[in-house]
Subunit: 413 residues, 2 copies
């Protein structure tokens, strides 16, 4: 028995004026999503807790069955895993922005004029020669990911993720120095190693031909690195081991690949899966159908619903939902034909009139053999609330699914 | 953005024979309450936990977002704050009854023949001269509250709330001595100080002119004090600080004022707000409307629904609900006009055929911008259970409301 878990990022929404008081899910003609609801059991889900706005990273940890309050290891590690770095226990990883400072050292652009991936990749290459000398036994690994984004990993003994963000999500201020966030030797070593790396990076970036060229063209130079979100590998039992299953993840965005890798999913790479509205969703769906041959649990992540919500575009969200519904059709057909399970939900609510994560619950529908089919006829936030799942927590979802797969051991006799 | 939280004490009920199988909320014609339900999202709420009868104090702690299992500091502190005593950390406060013992020292009336406030106030004045001499560094503060009720505060170093109730809610027994409930020096000191106070009070009350006069008139003398519910200030972060809001409370009953003060609400005093069925509800509603100008969160408590439930008077409860609904109308109009939020619920169920608190959930409705309006048409225990909030916990309510106000920080990224 197998299960496909489809998570549409930021799917949950609120009744919206632009849509005459409907939520985007209510407004969308999404036959395939509704078909899962009609054939399944429906409910609403507090991904973290009622009223708690989840980040995408903590949300996915919860959906995969891990308590983020206990095991959230910072975002950096997920980013590192997502760009393909084989993170090791003890490594401390940071998300980094290429950014622009002016001659007084003030941050003027956190994204270096949205530098292209091509140019950023050349700069990243130049940063790879940096060696940490002031802190013994520490090595720096720098990886470009996309556009102005990169990942820095500090590897070596006695490191800690308890160091402050250099990127404060603000412009108009001087670049702060990384500071240890506790009294440990480890935090101090990490802050010192990070500071040395940033200082050496600044020198390399200052006179780099790419930046000279950008300045000549009137573009902002990528003359500083801003790390944030120090993270380590989470100390957890892999999902495949907990439930004795083969688990595969299909995602475009690096973060989602990273969380999935961190908890023990195999990653299925799909060309053109970008984590944007232009993603190769058809390719991802085909990969999921293919994965049904070999895997017990297939996690399919679709980012576009969140992106258009952050853009405050409810009408576009309706379109994206309809597109997702169409593209999912062959997968849902296949799952229904084979008598497998499919669950569809979101990782959090991003109201498209707010443009940011909120703590409202998300709708969920689970179809498959033996589920308690209710009379919910549409997959949306309000219809699903009347369903037979009632209101559940994100952390309980994986066990609910594994229960259908007969994978949850009896407690007691 | 602002929110009004209306709590009708003991509002929840059960289907009742006197009302042809309807609950008082179902039987009442309460248009304004129904209007909140029609325009809002509805649900039922386990204030503490399913099946757990809450006290009014623990219920309100939970509704304000505090886990009463972790931070319930005993009722006495709330009573003390409610009557206006500026309780200090380390103080131990007791609710006290003026009561009557006969010549054998047996308790014959726990309320001293329901002595008037006027007479009790004179007695209380006489008790203020008591000095604790047997326990070093401890001072006694006695405050009359209403009718037979008062509050005693022991102030000084090394005190503890771990002392037994003297008032066992029983008549026909001898007055028990206060006992330490653990082996600490603090509990022993507190029990000793309390015993000394009670002994001195007994001597003062015995020959007090007020009591002589009562005996002459054939009334029961208030010749003994019965303390109970030892309590201290809860060790919590104030609600205003947690959510960075201005929070105001409007209540008649001392306990509710006390809980609200203890968790950091500003108290708005309303003349004639008595915490009874004769309260100045119109004045309270006007105060709430005024408070909307300056406060983000306004807590409005109405006690009358509980009082008539304890009196086992379902018909009267219907009347009280209809009265509340009428009186709330201008407030609800104002909230709807301004596009603010309003939530209405109870702090526990007091079935009017039982006459005591029970653990059944209470109905809840939340109206305001972006709530997931469902098709619930009436505000009652059974209609609301089909709403889009499903079933929530009391402790989750504050975060749900603060989420609508955009006050809950993201967890993760």
């Amino acid at each position: 028995m197998r299960v496909v878990l489809v998570v549409c990022d930021g799917l949950g929404d609120r009744p919206t004026k632009t849509l005459n008081g409907l939520t985007p899910l209510q407004a969308a003609k999404a036959e395939t999503l509704d078909r899962i609801a009609v054939n399944g059991e429906c409910g609403i889900m507090d991904v973290i807790a009622p009223g708690q706005p989840p980040g995408s990273d903590t949300a996915h940890l919860a959906i995969f069955g891990y308590d983020p309050f206990k095991c959230y290891p910072g975002r950096g590690a997920f980013e590192a895993l997502g760009v393909g770095i084989d993170l090791e226990p003890g490594d401390v990883a940071f998300r980094c922005n290429f950014a622009t400072i002016n001659e007084e050292g003030i941050i003027v652009d956190r994204r270096a004029g949205r530098i292209s991936s091509e140019q950023a990749r050349v700069l990243a290459e130049a940063l790879r020669k940096i060696k940490i000398e002031g802190v013994k036994g520490v090595q720096a690994i720098f990886h470009h990911s996309s556009e102005h984004r990169g990942v820095l990993v500090l590897r070596g003994e006695k490191l800690s993720r308890m160091v402050s963000d250099v990127d404060a999500h603000k412009t108009g201020i001087k670049v702060p120095k990384p500071k240890p966030l506790d009294d440990s030797l480890e935090a101090e070593r990490t802050a010192n190693a990070l500071e040395e790396f940033l200082e050496k990076a600044r020198k390399i970036l200052k006179d780099h031909p790419v930046n000279r060229e950008r300045i000549e063209k009137g573009l902002k130079p990528a003359n500083i690195l801003l790390p944030r979100g120090a993270g380590t590998l989470p100390d957890i039992e892999p999902i495949s081991k907990i439930w004795r299953i083969k688990a595969a993840a299909i995602a475009g965005g690096g973060l989602y690949k990273g969380v999935a890798r961190a908890v023990g999913f195999d990653l299925i790479q799909v060309p053109g899966a970008t984590g944007t509205v232009n993603t190769n969703l058809r390719g991802k769906v085909e990969a999921a159908m293919e994965a049904l041959k070999n895997y017990d649990l297939i996690f399919l992540h679709i980012k576009a619903t969140d992106s258009v919500s952050h853009d405050k575009n409810p009408r576009k969200k309706v379109e994206v939902i309809e597109w997702i519904s169409r593209e999912l059709t062959p997968l849902v057909d296949e799952v229904f034909d084979r008598g497998y399970y499919i669950a569809i939900t979101g990782d959090h609510t991003t109201p498209s009139e707010v443009g940011d994560h909120r703590g409202d619950p998300v709708p969920i529908a689970i179809a498959g053999p033996g589920v308690r089919r209710d009379d919910v006829k549409a997959f949306d936030e309000i219809s699903c609330a009347r369903g037979s799942l009632c209101r559940i927590r994100g952390m309980d979802l994986m066990k609910i699914l594994m229960n259908y797969l007969g994978r949850v051991p009896l407690f007691g006799e």
